[in-house]
């Protein structure tokens, strides 16, 4: 089941939290939703799940528009909220059964589905404990199992790895990647390496607007229209070289590289010739000038700070 948003808009008073956001996600695709705090990620996800009514635009699930009354469509959604709220007094197994029953899972299949989720999310040792007694990692797994117990076609995960230890993060990432083979998955994260490792495609949202979209390698290579150059000028004094490079047009930032006389120059438009011309004018020999692959962090910063 594919997911499509068309011109999704949400206002809170005078503030536009989500501004004309349109994107689509196909089955078998994991899409990462990136953006700084307050960019509109959670609001967009809540609108997709039907928790928040949009002020404009539509959410289409399998071609059908979501509305507060579309109960059948909701059976296809699994949602893990950012804070991962759980009924603290319910044991894990009872919580999962409750979730499955609410979503109308056939009575004869419920025990089987719950057992599958306990196995898939590694909850075997904790399944009889009340959720209020679980550690952070197991709470997160339980939240994920609750979101998945009715076998939804679309999975919306709001920062699913927050608060987990490195081992748990690796496990949850592997689970999401595995789920993404058959389901439509959208998940938000602040960890760019995680997005790159798990996602087939990334959406970057800033101040409510979708500012970049593409595969991680596409985003890096395009660098949102900019370019990063590795320059090596062994003869140039450090301070002079930095001052010269920083003073060039279109330069966003200059960092010293690890090698002697090496610099990393980030530019808003590709302009290698201006670097070589400036160095020649100073009489400095350039031993290396090459286009470096953008880091995702740079792409993110360019997209969200400019």
């Amino acid at each position: 089941m594919d997911l499509r948003t068309e011109h999704l808009t949400k206002r809170f008073g005078p503030q536009v939290a989500v501004d004309q956001v349109s994107f689509s996600v196909q089955p078998g695709e994991v899409v990462g939703f990136l953006g700084p705090n307050g960019a509109g990620k959670t609001t967009t996800m809540r609108m997709i799940c039907g928790l928040t009514a949009p002020d404009g635009g539509t959410v289409l699930l399998g071609g059908s528009a979501m509305s507060p009354r579309s109960m059948e469509l909701r059976r296809n959604i699994g949602y893990l909220p950012e804070a991962n709220p759980l009924y603290e007094d319910l044991p894990v197994l009872d919580l999962l059964r409750f979730g499955a029953r609410l979503q109308g899972v056939d009575r004869t299949l419920i025990d089987n589905r719950v057992a599958c989720m306990v196995e898939a999310c590694g909850l075997g040792d904790e399944k009889h404990k009340r959720t209020g007694e679980l550690s952070r990692g197991y709470r997160q797994r339980t939240g994920l199992a609750f979101a998945l117990v009715h076998d939804p076609a679309v999975l919306i995960l709001d920062e699913p790895t927050t608060g987990l230890d490195p081992n748990q993060i690796v496990e949850i990432r592997a689970l999401i990647k595995d789920l993404g083979k058959s389901k439509t998955v959208v998940f938000s994260t602040h960890i760019l390496s995680e997005a790159e490792a798990v996602c087939d495609r990334l959406l970057i949202i800033n101040k409510g607007k979708l500012v970049a979209e593409g595969r991680p390698d596409q985003l890096r290579s395009k660098g949102l229209g900019g370019a990063t150059y590795m320059v090596r000028i062994p003869a140039a004094p450090l301070r002079d070289a930095l001052r010269l490079l920083q003073g060039l047009p279109h330069v966003l930032g200059v960092e010293k590289g690890t090698a002697e006389g090496a610099y990393e120059v980030r530019m808003s438009v590709p302009a290698a010739e201006s670097i070589s011309a400036a160095c020649s004018a100073q009489g400095w020999d350039i031993s290396e000038l090459r286009l470096a692959e953008n880091r995702l962090e740079d792409v993110f910063r360019d997209a969200t700070l400019n």
Binding site: G50, L51, T52, L90, G99, L102, G104
Partner: protein
């Protein structure tokens, strides 16, 4: 209805998994038992084998206990964020409200069921007129249901349980006393309207053992109005803190 029943079952389980249900039952039995059998114009003072003293005391006890039961229903779910879990499922806000209402009503029913020994004891003490007793219990249930609906509506307006408690108490007081005071101070159609809106008057009417359809319509309408308003409020505000 299925979703509402599932929510009601879970909610009722939560009541009995915590001290909540036991406190409600003990507080109700303690208060009603004390005044019915021991203190003031108790059954022995009256010398009549009826439960009218109990119904008067129960009426007041429920007035305090019902907001205490209803205050957490939606306010707590909203505060902890678990409303998200319900409202992203194939469950409508009205079903959530109805489920909460069913659970609270079941708790009131079980609490009243615990007073059945009062009835049996009085029946053994002397000839009991069964009509007023049955109608008195029905009146307590109907009034309890109406107040629960108002309490759940109050709980749907806020994420703070104390605010929900006070709001429910105010709403109930308006129907319990406010309307009687206004009825006493107004005449004509308006006076009759306020009199009709008074829960106390309808409860007393049922307590006399007279089943009047106007009393039933009144309590059922108040219950339905409270539940519908709570459902609408939940649909409007969703799971976000109110």
């Amino acid at each position: 209805m299925r979703a509402a029943c599932l929510i009601a079952r879970k909610e009722l389980g939560s009541f009995f998994d915590s001290p909540m249900a036991y406190l409600v039952i003990v507080a109700f039995l303690g208060t009603s038992g004390f005044f019915t059998w021991w203190f003031g114009t108790d059954i022995f003072m009256r010398g009549i084998a009826d439960l009218s003293t109990f119904f008067q005391v129960a009426n007041w006890s429920l007035f305090i206990l019902i907001p205490a039961i209803s205050m957490r229903t939606l306010a707590e779910e909203r505060k902890t964020g678990t409303l998200d879990l319900l409202l992203t499922r194939a469950v409508s806000p009205q079903q959530v409200v109805n489920g909460k209402f069913l659970a609270c009503t079941a708790l009131i029913f079980l609490t009243l069921l615990c007073t059945l020994p009062y009835y049996i004891t009085v029946a053994r003490l002397g000839p009991v007129d069964h009509g007023p007793v049955v109608c008195g219990y029905a009146g307590l249930m109907l009034m309890g249901a109406a107040y629960l609906a108002l309490g759940i509506f109050a709980s749907s307006l806020t994420s703070n349980q104390i605010s929900a408690f006070i709001l429910a108490l105010v709403l109930m007081a308006v129907f319990h006393f406010g309307t009687s005071v206004l009825a006493a101070n107004t005449t004509g159609t308006l006076g009759q309207l306020f009199q009709y809106l008074s829960t106390g008057r309808h409860f007393e009417s049922l307590g006399r053992g007279v089943v009047d359809s106007r009393d039933l319509v009144y309590f059922l309408s108040l219950t339905a109005a409270g539940l519908l308003l709570a459902g609408r409020q939940l649909a409007r505000s969703g799971a976000k803190p109110a």
